[in-house]
Amino acid sequence: MEFLTFITCNVSPRDDLLLRSMIRLLNGQSKRHWRPTDHGHADLCFQGAANPNDTSESALAVVAKHRVSLVSGTPGANEIALPLHVGNVLTTLNRVADALAASALNADAPQRAPTPAARAQVEFALVRWPDWSLLQQDSQFLRLATVLASRSADKQGLADRSGVSLECCQRFLTALAKEGLVRAALSEAEPPAPEVGGSPIVKLVAENAESAQASLWSRLRRRLGIGQPTPEARAA
């Protein structure tokens, strides 16, 4: 899932239209892409006071991970000022995107009840390469950033591929999230590798090529005396 969803609730038709237009325009500038939804479940709900007595089923049924109220006067936390300004909307979208990424990081998968999509997992992807000061916070962060730059991964996958502890991966992802450098998305668990050709000989050739490549990296590492190969390369 590459985008986040928003919904409006009790927002005047004018502000509703404004919000939708602004967010559509801001897609591309905002850290994440946002799409409106009318299905009652959203990542973000803009809560207005246009009709405080609205007790309709649709209004009550809105379930959102984050709520931001539209208020007149000085806005507090989780509030946005009326009249709406595009800069404030952008700030709000980015703040909520960061909060969602952070809460995804803190989600402790084993303690959670299995979701209907039992195979779904939170995968993290680098938005861009982190500043050197962040990478120097821990001797393993450079390796973790390199692994994550190569492909997105869930926390456990990152730990497995890098050979770095789960705790260190957590610290790394948290540090990235604070800087807005990581994007979290739900993804299906990786499907089994597609069958390569039909013939056993074709499969064998493909496997040999992969193994020869891994072996080349290992040889080069040995020859140059650099680092330890990743667990995957070691196993190959």
């Binding site: 390199t146 040889r219 080069l220 020859r223």
Partner: protein, 175 residues
């Protein structure tokens, strides 16, 4: 067939020849000629290619190629890119416009970067702190690329090895 070839590129004076010399076990093949460009403070400059070799424990050769850095030699870049497993871009932070340099090489080698692996080493940061590594990272992101970017001094063999370590880590983790 697995290619055994690694490519170094970057601006004139960024240290491509030095980096290859640091790890090549054979005498390098160099195509250096007298430099006549007064904006570059070097006596010699590479106009064809640099070439070095590493012998692996099974006797196979791993080849190291360096490209000419100047844009006028961009015609050599796709030729030298063929079959490379990865690219090391070296940036000289004391150059007139290091951010323009990183865009030049990112764009010039985009097919190789996207199909293989790439790492950027930024030199002379200790004397030229601006642009910062973060500025380089933002610039790369602005052209849609994400590559590791680290500070280096390619006169130090350890720094060259770190670049290769990062490149190999990427290759080992590619889907």
């Amino acid at each position: 067939m697995i290619e055994r070839k690694l490519l170094f590129t970057g601006a004139t004076g960024a240290g491509k020849t030095t980096a290859i010399a640091a790890i090549s076990e054979t005498k390098m093949v160099r195509t250096d000629v007298p430099n006549s460009d007064p904006t570059v403070s070097k006596a010699l400059t590479t106009v064809g290619l640099d070439y070095g070799e590493i012998t692996l424990d099974n006797g196979e050769k791993f080849r190291l190629f360096g490209t000419p850095g100047q844009q006028r030699f961009a015609f050599t870049w796709p030729i030298l890119s063929r079959g490379a497993i990865g690219l090391i871009i070296l940036i000289d932070n004391s150059a007139a416009d290091p951010l323009a340099d990183i865009v030049t090489y990112a764009r010039g080698f985009q097919p190789l970067i996207e199909s293989a692996a790439c790492v950027v080493g930024v030199g002379r940061l200790e004397t030229h702190v601006r642009p910062s590594l973060d500025d380089h990272s933002r610039t790369l992101a602005s052209v849609g690329l994400l590559c590791p970017i680290i500070p280096v001094d390619v006169r130090q063999k350890a720094d060259v090895l770190l670049l290769i370590d990062i490149l190999l880590t990427q290759l080992e983790n590619k889907r």
